[in-house]
């Protein structure tokens, strides 16, 4: 770490952010207390669906310490929360976009829908006063399950059948014809279980208004502060952007759930001017369960047609995706653009049709959660592939090999062009690492103990760094998908880098510093990374979709290269050489073919003390910024192999081995990459084995609304992962050759686990079962097969 020169890329450099987190010096939003701080509590609907007959705030207003009470009436003329992606239905009509009000007006649409906000001097006073808000509800029938017939009272009048859109991709008639004549057809009907993100830091916000210049500052637990500012200022509150500063300080995990613009922080910013006091709100965990955007929740019928050799001919998928009660920021794109486009997986399947119906229900909004559409797609593909193999009696690894894409670039039938990949390499390594050769002996050993052992594969592909902006725009995106970076070189040659990416666990302060120090040939200690503050960072789209290094890192690299280019001109002047003769290497500007050279720090000093300087041709200073809009997605891929042991008497599943071999292209910090895979695997195994967001079908109450009811993976629920990153195929279209690693584990692992479980239970006649594979669900599947 103290090495003075380049060579940081590829090293497991320890994280510089850790010291503050390990000593209690991190600063999360709830840690901030302003002078004159007040506290907000939201009054929330206890009903899933109801008319608001009366919201009487008189007693609350009169309560001790109360400084303000607001209801939906106060926001009738304020915009609703916008949705960032327009999906167009197959009939050419735009998706239904009912208003998503900041505070409910006329109706509440899910348990936890916010009805009023009470602001008081202390949190205890705000809570006490909130209990005095008198709300009369006329309860309506709740509709929570997209698999069920539409409810008798629509969630929104604008969508009488509760459909937001019916979207499709592919030539259905041609694919139906292929299915009609195929040698083999496999069909699966299942539900991709609803998940609740549960970052351990609950959402939090603290808004302060400054009357002297009519400006606002919002601290908020958020993954993309510039997007938050843009949406809140321009689309909801009508505040000029330069009058709203959004700071996302240390953020305790996001996993997608902190991408979105939520009502609470927007209400806080608006109300901070009304009461002219800083207002803080921190979600209780119960509120987080009820109001954080949830993930997944698909009901799917998936079919694969194959020829007699197990060569895939066509895939047909029908999905009803639960969107919840309102369209969250990117809700519409997750089960469509980010789902259907991944259905080719690693295979040459020539024909794919996918129809998605987006369904409004009386549940919390559903949006991107780690993987966002891609775990759902991988589950479709890899469950089908494994089941085709089993039904046709073909080895699951062999059927994958028969169908692998082997030449690149490869244009899939679902709109993506994979730039590079080598799926055989990680499959072969995974087979070896998982000791698949020794599986039969282990299966026998389990059988000797009365237990069933199964082996399952999942060969995933994902698309990271959603891009480019113009194509995304043509597909309905209402935002750009670039990233911005700035490299500020100080007169002494020290560097501060500003990035629009946001780190909430990913370790950007370390990884990005490695990249910059490496490229500039300076010590890592000379580079600081600043993120998460619209008052400091010029612009940014933030962190989601495993995009930070491939998109944000590339923007920084482009800015560094501009610094080097300008440095060469300064060096050429000082060394009395032509610009074109200057080379930059190991932190020194050199005249090619000579021993004349100047260190980076001296060029920096000259830029700020321009006494001997080409002022007629060059501005002083050394400070560059860059925007980078990728030309394509990046395509990480991998092979995951899971081995489970099942007790057929109890349905208890033990994950005995989990092997993950990934190709992330080039790797900057292998320690951090491995940690990202671990975390993704934990969430994917959590989905497959434990987690389930469940609403009561009649009342619409969230039954899994606390850590007592929602099974979060704990240390002793998870296996020891065997993780490896192969020397892979670098991305061909970004200068770092990186692909992104944040979501892979969550994308690839659920299918591997369920495939292993179905392998274990195949001899009992269990071909499929729904996630989570709780002992009860597994036991039921075994009993059902026996019956």
């Amino acid at each position: 770490m103290n090495a003075p020169t380049a060579g940081f890329i590829g090293k497991a450099v320890l994280r510089r952010e850790d010291h503050r987190f390990l000593t209690g010096n991190g600063q999360y939003t709830d840690d901030i207390v302003h002078q004159g701080q007040t506290y907000a509590v939201f009054v929330r609907s206890p009903h899933a669906h109801a008319k608001l007959l009366k919201v009487d705030t008189e007693a609350a207003r009169a309560a001790a310490g109360v400084v303000g009470v607001f209801t939906g009436e106060d926001f009738v003329n304020v915009g609703g929360l916008p949705c960032g992606w327009l999906i167009t239905s197959v009939d050419g009509t735009p998706m239904k976009e009912p208003k998503h009000p900041l505070l409910a007006h006329g109706k509440v649409r899910h348990v936890g829908d916010q009805v009023a906000v009470v602001i008081a001097e202390t949190l205890a006073q705000a809570k006490a006063a909130a209990s005095l808000v008198d709300v009369d509800y006329e309860v309506l029938p709740a509709y929570v399950d997209p698999a069920a017939e539409a409810g008798s009272v629509p969630v929104h009048d604008e969508a009488p059948d509760n459909l937001c859109y019916t979207w499709a991709l592919g030539d259905k008639a041609a694919i139906d014809a292929t299915f009609a004549s195929a040698a083999h057809v496999t069909k699966l009907e299942y539900r991709n279980n609803r998940l609740i993100p549960n970052a351990i830091e609950p959402r939090a916000a603290n808004a302060i208004y400054n009357r002297s210049d009519d400006s606002y500052t919002l601290h908020v637990a958020n993954q993309n502060p510039h997007v938050e500012r843009l949406l809140m200022a321009a689309f909801v509150l009508g505040i000029p952007e330069h009058k709203l500063r959004v700071v996302a300080p240390d953020v305790g995990g996001g996993f997608g759930s902190k991408i979105f613009l939520y009502a609470e922080e927007t209400v806080l910013v608006w109300a901070s001017k009304q009461v002219n006091r800083p207002i803080k709100w921190t979600a209780e965990r119960s509120e987080a369960f009820l109001t954080d955007a949830h993930g997944r929740d698909h009901v799917t019928v998936a079919e694969m047609a194959a020829d007699q050799n197990g060569k895939f001919l066509a895939m047909r998928v029908h999905t009803r995706a639960n969107l919840g009660a309102y369209l969250s920021t990117f809700a519409s794109s997750v089960p469509t653009i980010l789902y259907a486009t991944l259905l080719a997986g690693q295979y040459t399947t020539p024909q794919i049709f996918c129809e998605v119906k987006g369904v409004f229900t009386n549940t919390a909004p559903v949006d991107a959660y780690r993987g966002a559409g891609r775990p759902e797609a991988t589950y479709v593909v890899e469950r089908l592939v494994e089941t085709v193999a089993k039904e046709m009696g073909i080895d699951p690894a062999e059927i994958r090999r028969r169908n692998f894409i082997r030449s690149f670039p490869y244009a899939t039938p679902v709109g993506l062009t994979y730039d590079t990949g080598d799926y055989e390499v990680h499959l072969a390594r995974a087979l070896e690492k998982a000791d698949v050769a020794g599986f039969a002996a282990r299966k026998q050993a389990s059988a000797d103990r009365g237990l069933l052992r199964g082996l399952g594969y999942s060969c995933y592909i994902e698309a990271c760094g959603l891009a480019p902006s113009n194509i995304a725009g043509a597909l309905g995106a209402r935002a750009g998908l670039f990233e911005a970076g700035e490299v500020r070189v100080h007169p002494t040659g020290k560097v501060t880098v500003y990035t629009g990416s946001h780190s909430h666990g990913q370790g950007h302060e370390t990884t990005f510093a490695q990249v910059v120090a490496d490229r500039l040939g300076i010590p890592m200690e000379d580079v600081d990374i600043v993120h998460g503050d619209t008052g400091k960072v010029l612009f940014g789209m933030g962190t989601y979709g495993s995009r930070s290094l491939s998109v944000g890192g590339t923007a920084i690299v482009k800015a560094v290269d501009k610094v080097i280019a300008k440095g060469k001109k300064i060096a050429a002047h000082l060394l009395e050489a032509a610009d074109g003769d200057i080379e930059f290497e190991g932190g020194n500007f050199k005249v090619a073919g000579t021993d004349k050279s100047l260190p980076f720090a001296q060029i920096a000093l000259t830029a700020y003390v321009p006494h001997n300087y080409p002022l007629d041709k060059l501005e002083p200073g050394l400070n560059e910024n860059a925007f980078y809009d990728p030309t394509n997605f990046t395509y990480p891929s991998g092979s995951y192999i899971c081995e489970v042991e099942v007790d057929p008497d109890t349905g208890v599943v033990k994950v005995d081995r989990f092997t993950a071999v990934d190709d992330f292209g080039n790797v900057v910090n292998p320690m951090i990459v491995e940690g990202q895979v671990h975390g993704g695997l934990a969430q994917g195994i959590g989905q497959a084995l434990l987690e389930h967001g469940v609403y009561d079908h009649d009342s619409g109450q969230l039954l899994s609304g606390s850590y007592m009811d929602y099974a979060m993976p704990r240390a002793d629920d998870l296996p020891h992962f065997e993780v490896e990153t192969v020397k892979g195929t670098p991305c061909t279209h970004n200068p770092l050759g990186v692909k992104g690693c944040g979501e892979a584990g969550a994308i690839g692992s659920p299918a591997a686990l369920i495939n292993a479980l179905c392998d274990a239970l195949w001899s009992l006649g269990v071909k499929d079962l729904d996630m989570p594979a709780s002992p009860h669900n597994v036991w039921k599947a075994i009993q059902h097969a026996k019956a």
């Binding site: 209690g24 850590y707 007592m708 002793d716 992962f721």
Partner: protein, 159 residues
């Protein structure tokens, strides 16, 4: 009604007036401004608020400040040496990449200290079982387990 308490907090004697209803975590975060101890749930399940009370791990959301009267409390802020050098368990978490977002980390470190001081930590399985009361959403626990093993070893050597 406010009640007077005296606690030995991170090696210092602190006297304060608290309400009967003030939780220990509220006392630490809001009164003492020791914000390293975090709140991640409302059912004493996540363990982010774990501190040491007389050397034993305690979820500080689950204890009233008045119950701490006369007791010794150690929070994450009390572990590093006066010169800023890290406690061996803190170092182990850093060396093993046992943290990502950092939010569960203080509670996790305090639970780890309780484990290696008072309980059987001879196997990975034992460590995993002991950490049941602390949720981490980022790491998948594997590097936390490694950190506890390494931290335990370092503490044994320096003892």
């Amino acid at each position: 009604m406010s009640i007077s308490i005296t606690v030995h907090l991170n090696g210092k004697t602190v006297s304060a007036q608290v309400q009967a209803s003030t939780s220990l975590v509220e006392f630490l975060r809001e009164h003492q401004r020791l914000t390293g101890t975090h709140v991640g749930c409302d059912t004493a399940q996540c363990g982010a608020c774990t501190v040491l009370v007389d050397g034993k791990a305690m979820k500080s959301c689950n204890m009233l400040a008045v119950q701490a009267d006369g007791l010794s409390i150690t929070t994450i802020e009390g572990l590093a040496a006066a010169d800023g050098s890290l406690h061996p368990m803190q170092s182990a978490f850093r060396d093993c990449h046992g943290l990502q977002c950092g939010f569960c980390t203080p509670g996790m470190v305090m639970s780890a200290l309780d484990l290696v001081t008072h309980h059987d930590h001879s196997s990975e399985q034992k460590i995993r079982e002991h950490l049941e009361g602390n949720l981490c959403r980022c790491t998948g626990y594997q590097n936390i387990v490694r950190a506890v093993q390494q931290g335990a070893q370092a503490m044994a050597q320096s003892a």
